[in-house]
């Protein structure tokens, strides 16, 4: 570090931080503090009547933990995330490896790299609307499957736990695998090409090179991708909300944490909603801390 030379300019560090800090304090910290404060109160609307705020201590926390909702919806969120993340990381790794493999000399790379990002441009709500229509009982997917003789009668995609979760995971995967691919590609390009050449000279196969050189060297970025994706997964909302019309059915098996939080927005339930938010803030803070550790350990 060039500490001594920079020292006289250091007040500029503070000056450059002012806009971020001010805006953060006003638009994020104040709402967050209010949210936390509210979580200790009974505070909601019944019709147009305001109930509370009455101080109830930790009662809201006890409620969301003991009624079993929090663990259930946390589990749902995680299950859907895993179903989305595994195929996503596999596809991204494969595509990333292909794009960066000089021996393959793939053509039209720019085209493919551009295209894989496109699904991210569609509004999640419009995307869910499309899926809902395509996978309806009398929708085109069912008629194609029936014409092909794969199924005898329409499969009710929206009435089975795993098909609903699968569709949500599939849509998210489709929207985000481009992003992941590009991130992984960046990491792969950062690996010293001399390593590959040395391995090739030693007669390693492409598979061996991938598993023995690329993957281990990619570990930090893989962890980064995984944790950011996990945090993104915790925020899962639009897609299941619109696909299941806000119900998270069948039997709330696809209700995510944010969908549950959204239910408390309905009647301005600052108390329970606040407690749920605090829980999520803690979880995301822990996860962010992991990202921080991982990214910093590499410097």
């Amino acid at each position: 570090m060039k500490k001594s030379k920079v020292v006289s300019y250091n007040k500029w560090g503070y000056i450059f931080l002012i806009p971020f800090t001010v805006v953060f304090l006003v638009f994020q910290l104040i709402p967050m503090v209010t949210t936390i404060y509210n979580s200790f109160f009974e505070n909601y609307r019944s019709g147009l009547m305001q109930i509370g705020p009455n101080f109830v201590g930790l009662e809201n926390y006890v409620t969301i933990i003991t009624n079993g909702d929090l663990p259930t919806y946390f589990a749902n969120t995680m299950i859907i995330w895993v179903m989305c993340f595994i195929p996503q990381i596999v596809i991204s790794l494969v595509l990333g490896a292909w794009f960066t493999d000089p021996s393959l000399r793939l053509r039209f790379q720019t085209f493919f790299k551009t295209v894989i990002y496109l699904p991210n441009l569609i509004m999640a709500s419009a995307f869910s609307m499309l899926f809902f229509t395509l996978f309806a009982d009398g929708g085109p997917i069912n008629s194609i499957l029936m014409q092909a003789g794969i199924i005898g009668e329409p499969y009710q995609f929206m009435s089975h736990v795993w098909s609903v979760r699968g569709l949500i995971a599939f849509m998210n995967c489709l929207m985000w695998f481009g992003n992941t691919t590009i991130l992984l590609m960046a990491g792969m390009l950062g690996i010293d090409p001399a390593l590959f050449e040395a391995a090739q000279v030693d007669g390693a196969t492409a598979t061996q090179i991938f598993s023995k050189i690329t993957l281990p060297l990619l570990k930090p970025i893989l962890i980064y991708v995984m944790v950011t994706s996990l945090i993104g997964g915790l925020q899962l909302f639009d897609v299941p909300q619109i696909l299941t019309n806000g119900s998270g059915d069948p039997v709330r098996s696809s209700m995510t944490l944010i969908m549950y939080l959204n239910k408390h927005l309905y009647n301005k339930n600052y108390g329970l909603g606040g407690a749920l938010s605090v829980f999520m803030i803690i979880v995301t803070a822990i996860l962010s801390y992991i990202v921080f550790k991982v990214t910093n350990s590499r410097r």
């Binding site: 030379k5 560090g13 638009f27 709402p31 490896a97 793939l106 489709l174 590009i182 944010i258 990214t295």
Partner: protein, 289 residues
Amino acid sequence: MTESKTAGQNENGASVHARRVLAYVVLILVTVLCLFWFYVLFINATRSNSELKRGFSAIPSVYLLENLNNMIHGTQPVLSGLINSFIIAVSSAALSTYFSAMTAYAIHAYDFKFRRFMFTFILMIMMIPTQITALGFLQLIGNMGLDDSFIPLIVPSVATPAVFFYMKQYMDSTLPLSLVEAARIDGAGEFRTFNQIVMPLMKPALAVQAIFSFVYSWNNYFVPALVLHTDTKKTLPILIAQLRSADWLKFDMGQVYAMIAFSIFPVILVYLVLSKSIVGGVTLGGVKG
């Protein structure tokens, strides 16, 4: 991973060839999977309400112009919606990229007491979902008298930790401090150094984050729907929602799809124009170790 397990000799032409074929097949499949939805949206935008109600079809119909015409001359202020979306998305993108770069520069180029703390802190708050504090946020802007205004949709982008993080990573890999010092020796002020020397170097990163912020803001429904109430101030996603909840007399799925297509079009355009620097930019800056 999926590559064939043929004899792994280097310079094995057949193996490379087989892998290349496999790569193209998969890539084409993926491309189809990515573009299919745009095709369906376009097809649906060309179909009339009653055709849409009847079910799906893969063949375009002839109602595109009629749908667009209905949309523009309908009751929704589509053109002002387009302008509003543009103002908000462009301003958010500009603010978030510029100020995130500035914040990242503060942490990157200066060494002050709270530097480590700030960095850790920003990372900690990086991923807190906006929905979580939405209730508090609404209360706040109500108290500030900013309800039904663009300000609460634009100004908060000054503090976008995720963009900051990206900028910081990018600077770590591409911005040597010696450059900053050289500028100082030349007598440039700190602010000028940042604007005239650092920012141009950050162009690829700025382009990447500009398009990401733009898309995010363009497609955002959750907060704008809670903040904007006057019809002429609403953004396109709100107008689409409004069209979808139209009364039975005016409900027209054809128009809804036309409007979705209409609102996706500018984003695709912006994306394609910037795509070169995006693909390149992400690759360059990336989250390099």
